[in-house]
Amino acid sequence: MLERYLTAASTYAHSIDHLFILIAVIVGFWLIAAEGMMFALIFKFRAKDGRPTQYITGEEPHLKRWISIPHYLIIVCDIVILAGAITVWYQIKQVMPPADATVRVIGQQWAWSFQQPGPDGVLDTADDIRTVGEMHVVVNTTYHFELLSRDVVHSFAIPAFRLKQDALPGRTISGWFRPNRVGTYDIQCTQMCGIGHALMAGRIIVETPQDHAAWLLRNSSPAVAEQQASPAPSSDGMATMAEVRR
């Protein structure tokens, strides 16, 4: 259902979409039943001359059933929904599948910046690639992220991945995602973070291993690095390898 309105591009997006459908079916049934019952009663018992009101307290067992049976059915429905909700939550937020790579995501007023391992595949080494506003990842690869904030509370959201996690100053919060569809998707900040909140956009580019290797090469080859570093500092906010090496 959600996929009709927004692409699903991560492995757990479908879990959330399916849970959404489960809940929609259950609560949709109850909503239609209750609204239908209400309008039927309004119509059936509209005021008519000569028809007296029935004196009902609500304690009569044969009438009370109309409340108590739905009451138990709703508890059953709640349990079904909870089972689904907790299963999905557990899979996304409580356990982390083994990582193919780890990235660092940093929120600050009002931009997202990313630190990714360079060709050596290890974070916090000299060949790390740092980018602002744009993150490149490989399709069908499990990423762990470490989420930080430099100032206020932000929220790191990639709607197409169905991913959302607040970034808190003073803490590192871990999470994971596994993109499964090539494309470019929005990164949002979904927590009010000041006047630039609406400008705190980013993009995540999910690419094939070949494209990603090419991107890695472009961003870590000494030639490019020197070229970007020598005449003027890079204007687009991309801190490149050259700066790291200096």
Partner: protein
Amino acid sequence: MSTEVQHAEPGIFRKYLWSTDHKVIAMQYLFTGMAMALIGAFFAYVFRMQLGFPNQNVPGYGIVTPARYNALVTMHGSIMIFWVAMPVLIAAFGNFLIPLMVGCDDMAFPRINRLSYQIFLLSALVLLSSFLVKGGPFGGAWTAYPPLSASGAYNLTPIGATLWLLAVALEFVAFLLGGINFTVTAMNSRAPGMKMYDIPILIWMIILANIVFMASAGPLIAGAVMLLFDQTISTGFFDPTRGGDPLLWQHLFWFFGHPEVYVVLLPAMGIVAEIIAVFARKKIFGYKTVLYTTWAVGFLSFVVWAHHQFVAGVDPRMANIFSITTLLISVPVTEMVFLYIATLYGGSIHLDTPMLWALAFIAEFMIGGVTGIFLGSSGTDIYLHDTYFLVAHFHYTFVPIAIIAVFAGLTFWFPKMFGRMLNETLGKIHFWGTVIPFNVIFIPLFITGMAGDQRRIYNYAQFAEQSRPALQHLRTTSTIALLVMLSFQLVFLFNFFWSLRNGKTAGANPWRSTTLEWTVPSPPPHGNFAEMPTVYRGPYEYGLPGRADDFLPQNVPD
């Protein structure tokens, strides 16, 4: 506002500024709340225009800057909850109706009551004054999460943020005073013979709402003081660089913030119960069960707060517990709604304007209720949290509460308050002109939320997925529906003020109702009851078999 007629003569000046009559204070709360509602509605108009027609000149306002947009949504939320829903639902209806419905001459503490309104008025003025200070009003959302709210360097509204906080704290003082007063009055000042289970459901609901409010406000007031210190004398309660913790505020805020939903819901449910009983000519189906579900809701409302924080960075295991409690609270709320629907069974339903509003409350609130399940379920909340799906959901609860139920109550008790009837035709035009556009405003927003629209964004141009034309059409539709809904409020304002002078004279009991407020003249004189009433039975004796009349008031001896 009634204080504006103060210059006519000194006696009236004295009356409106210092009167301790519960009815005068109720009217002051009502008119202040209505004035604040107009301000809150104007803000909604401005920011919806910006969303519907981005970066255009908004007629009557001008260009909406990002800073102003943030301030407008912050103030809209704060005003509608703290300065409209609470004063009108709890203070206006509570003040007017508690003494009249329990059968006493005034509140237990009339002077505390007066003080409560004065502080409330001050809090509203403090809030509005933030539009005049350097940097403008606070724009960090009505939830005011630190460190953004704690530091002028982050929010760029150092004075506005402090004024907002002071205004909220003052408002809380006003409602704590009121809450004590309402509770004591209903417990101690009831007419002889009115036992616990003879109290009208509305009074029960207002009392329980006040108890929930008083029990939940403490942590937030403590939090507000800490935040005030962080802002003004550089303490570090919420500053992680100095050992503080921003999450602490979120817990303190939502420990209050979620019960607050039920603080305003319960009086609305109470108003609807009274009206359904009268216009269906029926006893409330399972009066005691309604009360038990109310108590259950009140109790459970204290253990659901962290469902606002599933993705806030708290321990993820906690989400499971709060998902369970959140879905659990759906059980008593649903049951209460079912009991109201069951009350219609076997009735003789008259669709006068108050009844239309009451039935619309149930119909619309159910949509708000079921969409809450998507958000209370931790799994789906990951995606829907802080999207327009959430915005649409809580407007489907708060608009029925603060708008639909208030109109239900106003059209129902207007004859008692002012002694004249409202015009029924205008009332129905206003009803349909409000309820239909209301749905057209918020159903599109469910869809934009499902498509990923996040909240509090003044312009989606930065987001490729969000700036699709189809989504912009939905936003524009929503804005146009808001314009239609707002324009129909003029019908209400005209009807209200026209009927004050020209309405048909109401008489004591125009709706042929059973509760005590209808046994006194309309409007009730100072001191309410010429002869203090005695109560012989419960509040909803309609359609008793073997009687000529279809209703038996509480104060008529057998």
